[in-house]
């Protein structure tokens, strides 16, 4: 049972007062009698009756105490679980298996406590009832379908283990709700630590949903993000970005160590105020190949988020093919961008080389030449219109002024076209699928196309006939285009996937491959093409992919800001207060019933008072 306003229980202090007043209200009148001999005889003979009478007298007091107690409890807003631990009907047990369930509560983890309650539910199942068990992590996992086999259910619960994944508990509860058969009175029981703010999509006021909160509040410090970002700084190829959160109630000082290639690259102490998030951005001076592991030494109850993992893959540059006569400005601008290799192909358009379905380069740039029919790939086209796109050239515009451009499109981020002089531009008529980025009147000057694996930036004028290449916005436009084509273009190739997310593994022509998990378990996979998605990333650490004679590694890390806050904070109606360790049910309030009971008790008290013999003269 939970109370929504437990302070009202202070009203119970009135009970001793009532008893005291009752004691005061009895006024004994002294009466001399010639002899007590008959009275004593009566007391001896009518002992039982006298006791009943005393009970009747105290019944008034008893009813008053009961009435006050009931009123106090009613005002405290009790909510009783609408169903018990067991009971008739099907039960869908949702065990929260997210990373925070590994928080230690004394000698055991939160998941141990949840598992224990799950076993109690199994023990309380009535004959004919069935149970299904769902593990809630990044995705719901059905570990036991509906069965009435108690032994199988116990086995399924005992074998369940928590994951290192940040979770989406709500999705699992919704999944469990979808399993419920209303005709069988199915019920959903969520055993969780409540380390989340809400359960979106779950109506917790439903009487057949119960949330059991396990665990207590703990202070915790953890790494919530670790990434590498390329820089143009000549001294360091990239910089390390680490975010750390103190989800505790006290300031802490924690040592941070970052190791790469078996050596300590960064070691410093972070001082964090209560609740503070701190970020660390430092030039990376370590090796850019191999494992990177960051570690906080906190000694808190949740060591999982004290570590973050990344894997540096071999550096990969963006290959740009520049096609066109004398594309000097464009070449210089592209070459100034970090990690870009420009190859210039002067002369005729690349029809001579044939239509390559798979462009050999990452990006192809056409400057002032008619491109062929384009397929998949990334393209930047100046003063030309691909023949296979729904784009008609109506003519040309002479010195068209730039009358407007999109200031929100990522392609024009930080790009200003104000005052740009354009000598001549194509008068284009774009069909559906194009996005107009800049225009002169009704004629588009810049367009983007993103369809069927093809991304293209079209510019209606030749940069050589404009002052735009002389402006700062020109290289920024190209950089934005590369970022649009490759969102992680400016980031180092530190390979990292969050626990629970799929990892795309490129397997080439190999039919089978094996993934060795951090704990040494081997998972055999069959390729489904040149790349295969691997979902079994429930454990943080380094995974090795073995495919024939070659092998590669990738890192799985937790780094989740919400998961670092391990305090139970789910506050749905009827949920138990975090830290009580009590069974919490989502249940209907019972104050109305209690209020009626209090009224009835007061009525009974009045009747008992009226019917008390000798009341008027006592």
């Amino acid at each position: 049972m939970s109370l929504s306003s437990p302070l009202w229980l202070l009203l119970l202090l009135a009970v001793p007062l009532i008893i005291f007043l009752h004691a005061l209200s009895i006024r004994w009148r002294s009466t001399p009698v010639s002899s007590l001999v008959f009275w004593k005889e009566l007391l001896k003979e009518r002992k039982a009756n006298m006791r009943i009478r005393r009970l009747f007298t105290s019944l008034v007091l008893l009813l008053e105490v009961l009435a006050v107690t009931t009123v106090a409890v009613a005002l405290a807003g009790p909510r009783l679980p609408s169903f018990g631990r067991g009971g008739a009907g099907d039960v869908i047990l949702v065990l929260d298996a997210t990373a925070s369930m590994q928080v230690r509560e004394g000698a055991r983890t939160r998941f141990d406590l949840a598992r224990e309650r799950g076993l109690e539910l199994v023990a309380g199942l009535r004959g004919g009832s069935r149970m299904a068990v769902v593990l809630a992590a990044r995705r719901p996992r059905l570990v036991s379908a509906f069965t009435g086999d108690r032994a199988a259910l116990r086995r399924a619960i005992q074998d369940a283990v928590p994951t290192d994944e940040p979770g989406d508990v709500a999705a699992s509860v919704v999944f469990a709700m979808s399993l419920r058969d209303p005709r069988r009175g199915g019920r959903v029981v969520l055993e969780t630590d409540g380390a989340f703010d809400e359960l979106p999509g779950v109506d917790t006021s439903l009487p057949w949903i119960r949330v059991d909160i396990v665990g207590t509040a703990h202070d915790n410090v953890g790494i919530t993000r670790m990434s590498f970002r390329r820089t143009s700084d000549g001294d360091a190829p990239c910089e390390l970005f680490i975010a750390v959160r103190n989800a505790g109630r006290a300031a802490v000082s924690v040592p941070l160590t970052v190791r790469a290639g078996g050596q300590v690259v960064i070691s410093r102490t972070l001082i964090l105020a209560a609740g503070q998030r701190s970020t660390l951005s430092v030039p990376w001076k370590g090796p850019v190949v191999g494992r990177v592991e960051a570690e906080l030494r906190t000694g808190d109850a949740f060591p999982l988020d004290d570590r973050a993992y990344a894997m540096f893959a071999p550096a990969r540059r963006v290959q740009v093919l520049l096609v066109g006569p004398d594309p000097w400005f464009v070449e210089k601008a592209l070459a100034s961008l970090p990690g870009v290799t420009v190859r210039v192909q002067a002369g005729p358009a690349p029809e001579a080389a044939g239509r390559a379905r798979e462009p050999p380069d990452d990006v192809t740039v056409y400057v002032g030449v008619q491109p062929p029919a384009l397929d998949k790939g990334n393209f930047i086209i100046f003063a030309a219109a691909p023949p296979n796109l729904p784009l008609r050239v109506l003519g040309s515009l002479r010195v068209p002024p730039v009358t407007g451009w999109s200031r929100t499109d990522p392609l024009l981020d930080s790009v200003s076209l104000a005052g740009v002089t354009i000598g001549q531009a194509l008068d284009l008529d774009p069909g559906p699928g194009f996005s107009v980025l800049a225009a002169s009147g009704t004629s588009p000057l810049m367009l983007s196309w993103d369809h069927a694996g093809m991304k293209a930036l079209l510019v209606a004028f030749d940069p050589r006939g404009s002052d735009f290449p002389l402006r700062p916005g020109f290289p920024i436009l190209l950089a934005n285009a590369l970022s649009w084509f490759f969102p992680t273009w400016l980031e180092a190739q530190a390979d990292q996937v969050q626990a629970g997310n799929a990892r795309v593994i490129s397997t080439g022509n190999a039919a089978d491959f094996t993934v060795v998990k951090p704990d040494g378990r081997r998972v055999s996979m069959r390729s489904s093409g040149s790349s295969t998605e691997f979902f079994d990333t429930d454990e943080t650490g380094f995974y090795r992919v073995e495919s024939g004679a070659s092998s590669s590694e990738f890192a799985v890390t937790l780094t989740d800001d919400d998961e670092t806050d391990i305090s139970p904070r789910f506050n749905a109606p009827g949920a138990a207060s975090p830290g009580t360790g009590e069974t919490a049910g989502i249940a209907a309030p019972v104050w109305a019933g209690l209020a009626a009971a209090a009224l009835a008790l007061m009525l009974l008290e009045w009747l008992a008072w009226v019917w008390t013999p000798g009341r008027t003269r006592a």
Binding site: I26, R27, W28, R29, S30, T31, P32, V33, S34, S35, L36, V37, F38, W39, K40, E41, L42, L43, R46, N49, R53, R54, T57, P613, G614, R617, A618
Partner: protein, 318 residues
């Protein structure tokens, strides 16, 4: 005495009454009551064989003629009667309005007056936890004044004559109720000590700690050849109390208290209990040929003396 015990009219009525004894007692002086002694009255009593020295006038010559043996005729001797007034003076007798002790002493004085007027020997003894003269007795009557040797401690020894009447009235006027009650012990002691059994009039509320104490006491009197009249004096509040509520009842004799929530059913049970006790007393007295008179202080004591005792045939008009 605080108040006048009797008015003149009442005394006049008393003078016309005398005690009747159903038994024949051996008196100390010639009186108005039959005696076991054979005397000179005209009431034939018996025959016996002639002994030398017998008065020839008492020889029944008719029998001698028929049987040829000498028998003398015996006549009953008329002697005085000893009236023992045994008055309960325990603290419980002070209960009531008027107090039962006032009622009882008036009654005793009236009966004593009747006895003395009939030339009977009248004595008064109070008792509570013991006899009035006992050291063990915690209460009793004060010693009579006037240096009369017949009055010792809490008792007025049985005597005849006018002076005894004065002593009796003085004794009654100084009577106070106090102490506990042990009827059995008191009456047993009195019966054992008394040298002249006679009519014992016990005036008491019979409220002893042991409700059957009166039985042993009265049996002792009967055993010692007393003729017993029991006058049971009660207050109306004892027979039918009406007070309800939370009461702390205090025993007037022991000082013991009992706290009770008294309701009507309890009062009814009390009345039934008292009624049952009255029935037991009546039954006992009937069985043992004891004259029993129960009266409440609300009944004028003159009525008790002039009507009820007369109806019981212990008093008769002279």
């Amino acid at each position: 005495m605080d108040t006048v015990l009797f008015d003149r009219e009442f005394l006049r009525k008393l003078e016309s009454l005398a005690f009747i004894s159903h038994r024949i007692y051996r008196g100390e002086a010639r009186g108005a009551h039959a005696s076991v002694r054979r005397g000179t009255s005209l009431d034939f009593a018996d025959y016996r064989t002639y002994q030398p020295g017998d008065d020839f006038r008492t020889i029944d010559w008719g029998i001698f003629g028929r049987l040829d043996r000498l028998f003398v005729r015996l006549y009953a001797e008329e002697e005085d009667l000893t009236v023992h007034l045994l008055l309960d003076s325990s603290a419980s007798m002070s209960y009531g309005a008027p107090p039962k002790i006032d009622y009882a002493r008036r009654l005793a004085a009236a009966l004593g007056y009747v006895g003395i007027g009939s030339l009977d020997r009248v004595g008064v003894t109070t008792f509570a936890a013991g006899l009035g003269g006992d050291k063990s007795a915690s209460g009793g009557a004060k010693s009579t004044s006037g240096g009369d040797k017949s009055a010792s401690g809490g008792a007025l020894a049985p005597r005849r004559g006018r002076m005894q009447l004065f002593h009796l009235l003085e004794y009654m006027s100084g009577l106070r109720a106090s102490g506990g009650t042990d009827i059995a012990k008191s009456l047993q002691d009195y019966a054992r000590r008394s040298r002249s059994p006679g009519l014992a009039i016990v005036i008491s509320d019979l409220l002893d700690d042991s409700l059957d104490g009166y039985r042993r006491g009265l049996r002792a009197l009967l055993f010692h050849d007393f003729e017993v009249v029991l006058v049971h004096v009660l207050d109306r509040g004892e027979i039918g109390p009406e007070e309800l509520g939370a009461l702390r009842l205090t025993d007037m004799e022991s000082g013991q208290t009992v706290s009770l929530s008294v309701d009507r059913p309890l009062l009814a049970a009390y009345r039934a209990k008292v009624g049952g006790f009255f029935g037991e007393v009546e039954s006992f007295c009937l069985k043992n040929r004891i004259e029993y008179l129960r009266t409440a202080t609300i009944v004028p004591f003159e009525d008790v003396v002039l009507r009820y005792l007369r109806q019981g045939a212990h008093l008769h008009a002279r």
